[in-house]
């Protein structure tokens, strides 16, 4: 026990004294905040303005485009940031009765690919004259980037709303009635939980959920990698023989793993303190990017974060420890464990589906499964409202998983740590488990 403690202490002190640790601890929150705010800033600065030329063969839609554009500009305040900023500056050209629109469009299309920057055109929308009368009429949108679907979508919606207005007006409705019909209702997303506490939902929750999950996942992998490096370093520095002649390999391994876990917890502790501070500040100033962060930084959040971080870390770290023990270079080790870590990361790749459906069968199954459990259950506690039995069951399953993984890892570690030969194959690793 004392020896394990000595290893743990050494790992911890050596790690937290490194400059890299201090830099990461204070840089990471800055990066996260930047990730959150930069899109909003971009929007305010108007960096995303697109110059679009609309050639209207009907000659009736001027108002639709000018009005639509104005309301879009009004909305572009500092909000959420779930959508990238997309301001459109429309140059409306009335081409009523023009039967050869593509020909008329030609000089504009040329301005898309050449010409000086001040006259740059990002897109051209053609509305054929028959659009009002023929429901099958097709609008054509030329753009420089095929991926600019946001601009396309906005223009299409402006055109369609304009056309709908005109069609309604044709049926003899007054413009007031038309406006009333066309008004869309605002949806305020509120999440209700059994405890009666209200959470604001929507795109913002999605973003914050993603960010906090990344905050949990990234250190797990960073510190897993750190363990792997440490073990390989001990092998190349040949310290390992002194170590395993002085203590059992499980004492060494467990001491290392928990030493590094404490390093991770220290870092996360600093982050959570900073987040708590920022949230308190935000609450004081009553607005934090337009919504309430405090709904996430509930006391239970801190508990869940720490619990699920430790469980996730302990799960992932086993793969890295095996890689480190079995191989002699980082590259070899990465190759060996790549398939394992990829598999373990599965919930992360499905994160969008999990966050948007915290109560789906898939999410619940993942959260109660070994390996995927910690990350998925953390997301559920964050954006969903899982029953306490699920949470506890997930923790229990993870604890069993971690014990089994650690046991296997110790065995491989014992054989691998003194082997300097070529990288073992997976069947060879299996044999090591049986031998040790």
């Amino acid at each position: 026990m004392n020896k394990m403690w000595a290893v743990l202490k050494r790992e911890y002190l050596q790690a937290v004294r490194k400059k890299m640790f201090i830099v990461m601890t204070f840089l990471m929150p800055v990066l996260m905040v930047a990730l959150f705010f930069i899109p909003s800033l971009l929007m305010v600065r108007g960096l995303g303005t697109k110059n679009v030329v609309v050639l209207d063969g009907t000659g009736e839609l001027r108002e639709a485009f000018l009005r639509g554009n104005a309301s879009a500009a009004k909305k572009s305040g500092l909000s959420g940031g779930s959508q990238l900023p997309n301001l459109i500056s429309v140059s409306y050209i009335d081409r009523r009765g023009d039967m050869a629109l593509p020909l008329t469009a030609k000089p504009y299309l040329e301005r898309m690919t050449q010409g000086d920057k001040r006259q740059k055109v990002d897109g051209v929308l053609l509305i054929p004259g028959e659009a009002l009368v023929n429901p099958a009429a097709v609008l054509t949108f030329y753009s420089r980037s095929a991926t600019d679907f946001l601009t396309q979508e906005k223009l299409t919606s402006m055109a369609n709303r304009g056309l709908q207005r005109l069609r309604l007006a044709e049926r003899g409705l007054s413009s007031d009635d038309v406006s009333r019909i066309m008004t869309s209702v605002k949806v305020d997303a509120v999440q209700l939980s059994k405890t009666g506490q209200k959470k604001k939902g929507g795109a913002e929750s999605f973003m914050v959920g993603f960010m906090l999950t990344a905050l949990l996942l990234i250190p797990s992998f960073v510190y897993g990698l750190e363990i792997m490096r440490g073990i390989i370093q001990e092998k190349t520095d040949r310290v390992v023989e002194i170590l395993v002649s002085s203590m059992s390999s499980s004492q060494l391994l467990i001491g290392k793993i928990f030493g590094v876990a404490l390093v991770g917890l220290t870092q996360i502790g600093v982050w959570l303190l900073l987040a708590g501070g920022a949230a308190t500040f935000a609450a004081a100033t009553a607005s934090f990017a337009g919504f309430d962060v405090l709904q996430f930084l509930h006391p239970s959040f801190f508990v869940y974060f720490v619990v699920f971080f430790v469980l996730a870390y302990l799960t992932y770290v086993c793969a890295y420890a095996i890689g480190g023990a079995a191989c002699n270079s980082e590259r070899e080790a990465q190759q060996l464990i790549m398939p394992i870590t990829m598999f373990m990361m599965l919930p992360w790749f499905l994160m969008a589906a999990i966050i948007t459906n915290p109560d789906s069968t898939l999410t619940v199954a993942f959260s109660l499964s070994p390996v995927f459990g910690p990350l998925t259950m953390f997301v559920r506690t964050l954006v969903g409202d899982p029953p306490m039995t699920h949470v506890l069951l997930s923790i229990a399953i993870s604890l069993v998983t971690v014990s089994v993984l650690l046991w296997i890892t110790t065995k491989i570690f014992r054989v691998g740590i003194l082997s300097y030969g070529k990288r073992p194959t997976i069947p060879e690793l299996w044999r090591w488990i049986k031998v040790a």
């Binding site: 023989e241 002194i242 002649s245 003194l418």
Partner: protein, 309 residues
């Protein structure tokens, strides 16, 4: 003198190679035991089983009067592995404290000990330096301190001379003698027979995983008789090997060790040698360990193995 360690018929197989194949020997308290053999004979594997790094596939390692329980025995051993290594990023003092701690010592109690050792090896001014900043010779000294810091009863040194500069070599030799006088037990593994001859009381000769010879240095040499001629001379002595009475010869630059055949007459050989060389030393005695080793294993076997390498 009492036994401290008994190795009983241990076997260790790697894949299909029997690295250690039924090795038995004992180590007595207060002696220096030389574990001899060529590279790859099975010395390091044997030592790793003794230090608890490997478990023997069969056979046993038995401890007498060292300490009860596996964990405690570990703490009474000081081990210098063949592959040297230290945490390069750590400060000297921190490293030594850590290494003492994993031997079950309290860091606070160890500080005076560390200071004493550092002073003895003239490293006091380097105590706050990182290991990687030390010269290679100094790193070797640190490794030695790490082996001895926790006052072990049994000191196991695997090829202690490998990579040592001549100054440190002498330092190690004197240190070993001193430790022996203090009553410590030393197990010294080496492929340099000459070195073992200078140091060891007992020898265990291993070849291809098996013990081929065991006993006190004196008795071993005694049993190989006094029919070996040790010659030091100036000139080209290569003809000595071709003399009819010489069964086997090891010729160096300015010396030779000649094993005489049954009919060999030392005086005759001296006569011939004096005619062609300037003799500086002529001694009839027991063979050197090197010669004993060659005789025991067989020159043909050695040559065949050499060819396979």
């Amino acid at each position: 003198m009492s036994e401290i360690l008994a190795v009983r018929n241990v076997v260790k197989v790697f894949d299909s190679v029997r690295a250690v194949d039924g090795v038995s020997f004992t180590v007595r308290r207060g002696t220096i035991t030389g574990l001899l053999g060529r590279n790859g004979a099975g010395k390091t594997t044997t030592i790793r089983m003794i230090t608890g790094i490997f478990m023997p596939d069969s056979g046993s390692i038995e401890w007498r009067n060292l300490a009860a329980g596996g964990a405690a025995v570990r703490d009474r051993i000081g081990y210098l592995p063949e592959e040297r290594g230290l945490y390069k990023q750590m400060k000297l003092v921190e490293l030594l404290l850590f290494l003492a701690e994993i031997k079950g010592k309290r860091p606070a109690e160890m500080r005076p000990n560390i200071d004493r050792w550092l002073e003895r090896f003239e490293l006091t001014d380097k105590r706050d330096a990182k290991v990687e900043e030390l010269s290679k010779g100094n790193q070797q000294k640190v490794q030695l301190i790490a082996t001895l810091l926790h006052d072990p009863d049994l000191i196991i040194l695997d090829e202690p001379q490998s990579g040592l500069d001549p100054v440190n070599m002498v330092l190690v030799r004197n240190l070993l003698r001193e430790l022996k006088e203090e009553g410590r037990t030393i197990l010294l593994s080496t492929h340099m027979m000459g070195e073992a001859e200078k140091m060891a009381d007992e020898i265990v000769l291993i070849h291809r995983g098996k013990v081929v010879l065991e006993g006190s240095l004196e008795s071993v040499r005694e049993s190989f008789g006094h029919n070996t001629l040790h010659l030091d001379y100036d000139g080209d002595g290569s003809f000595l090997a071709d003399l009819p009475q010489v069964a086997r010869a090891t010729i160096d630059n300015h010396g030779a060790e000649l094993t005489l055949g049954d009919s060999g007459d030392p005086q005759k050989i001296l006569e011939v040698a004096m005619g062609r060389l300037r003799i500086r030393r002529f001694e009839l005695g027991a063979p050197s360990l090197e010669e004993i080793f060659i005789e025991k294993v067989g020159i043909e076997t050695l040559a065949a193995e050499e060819a396979l390498r």
